[in-house]
Symmetry: C2
Subunit: 240 residues, 2 copies
């Protein structure tokens, strides 16, 4: 097993960091790695906003639902889908297609993962912050995002203060299908639910008694950021 | 520079493969790496469909706009956003939120990038196939995708028959913004355009005379898969 695969398989989200800053050359490498990801039709539709201002950080931490590590992590990056770049180059660019929202989200995801893995490979850790989508209008104002730019996720990076246990993922037998889509196997799911329950009961902090299926229900049996469709349209995404 | 960062920075899309198959244990590692990516709220909403049937491969190569390597690559995977999994677990799951489309696209992107990097770290190469979105209804039928599942991208993997030059990306000075969104610097863009033009003129195959800005215009001054919004809605995504 090589270092890349080891880094990938050792992933855990880090939410507690030491106060040590990230060396500038390491940060540069992380950003260069983000930038090396594949880009659909070479369109390059991602912008990364690096936030160092403590006041802005505190406001975003608040917006994200009180995630203190957004304020305290050594680095905090906001990853955006950005077609305003192209609108400046080509005023006739036809924007607003739902397909472009997909491209923006997928390609920005690829860049985010490159950045996180580069960081993890150098002994740093990090966590994705989907909570920045809690109040995208406010964030848009705070970061002066023009039309055709939407913030998709944040990323905290820094030196880990502790290494939590690795969270057990769904088995590949459920995630990977052969030739065609296959229905969920209830026996496999049951075994995985027990596995997750045991993980939560035994882990070194924030113990709880819950299976994966119970978590899924708790998360999905309610609305998911119901303002997102209107927000995207206001920003000029998914209007057609 | 460690192996992970080297792998990331050495990325180029591979579209020509040798006939050598991928060893089963390597494929297993690639899939395990995909599965190790972060998951928003631990919702795990990605399914990967592995296609080995030559007839299906040929049909998808056709759908994707005649990309022969979809048929000939050692492995071909279709990455899908999948909330049908959750609907089976929790019939009361509230689906169709645009936010869930974002989560699906971002998280599936993270998994794809883990898979590609794992492959590249072992001497394999690959390419994302966005062209599978050319005719998503047909693909949905072909792969028996139920409602709440949409195919986002394909991935060809195999041993590279040749290593093309690395494509020059936008400079970090354009991609990375400080504190707030910054307008495009036209001087930096001009320099990058010259850089891209020189790269296309000099590369070892498929030479052309075009700048990045010219490519952007050619790509965006026309419709982008205008059927995508209706397709997503039919599959139960972005209905609200």
């Amino acid at each position: 097993m090589n270092q890349t695969i080891e880094t990938i398989l050792q992933h855990r989200s880090i939410r507690q960091f030491t106060t040590e800053p990230i060396e500038p050359q390491k940060l540069q490498l992380i950003l260069s790695c983000a930038n090396a990801a594949s880009s659909s039709s070479f369109i390059q539709c991602t912008s990364i906003i690096r936030i160092t201002n403590p006041e802005t950080r505190a406001q975003i931490a608040q917006l994200a639902g009180g995630q203190a590590y957004v304020a305290s992590a050594a680095e905090f990056l906001v990853f955006c889908a950005d077609f305003f770049r192209h609108k400046q180059i080509s005023p006739n660019a036809q924007l607003g297609f739902t397909e472009q929202t997909l491209i923006g989200a997928i390609d920005t995801g690829l860049m985010g993962q490159n950045a996180l893995l580069a960081a993890e490979s150098m002994g740093l850790g990090g966590v994705y912050i989907g909570g920045i989508r809690n109040n995208p209008s406010k964030l848009t104002e705070l970061l002066s995002l023009p039309n055709h730019v939407v913030p998709l996720f944040g990323m905290c990076l820094g030196y880990p203060a502790r290494q939590p246990e690795i969270k057990p993922r769904l088995p590949l037998s459920i995630v990977v299908h052969q030739e065609q889509y296959q229905q969920l196997d209830s026996e496999e799911l049951k075994a995985y639910d027990q596995h997750v329950r045991a993980y939560y009961a035994a882990r070194s902090s924030n113990n709880k008694q819950v299976s994966w299926s119970e978590q899924v229900s708790a998360t999905l049996d309610k609305e998911a950021r119901p303002f997102m469709q209107a927000y995207l349209k206001r920003q000029g995404f998914s209007t057609r």
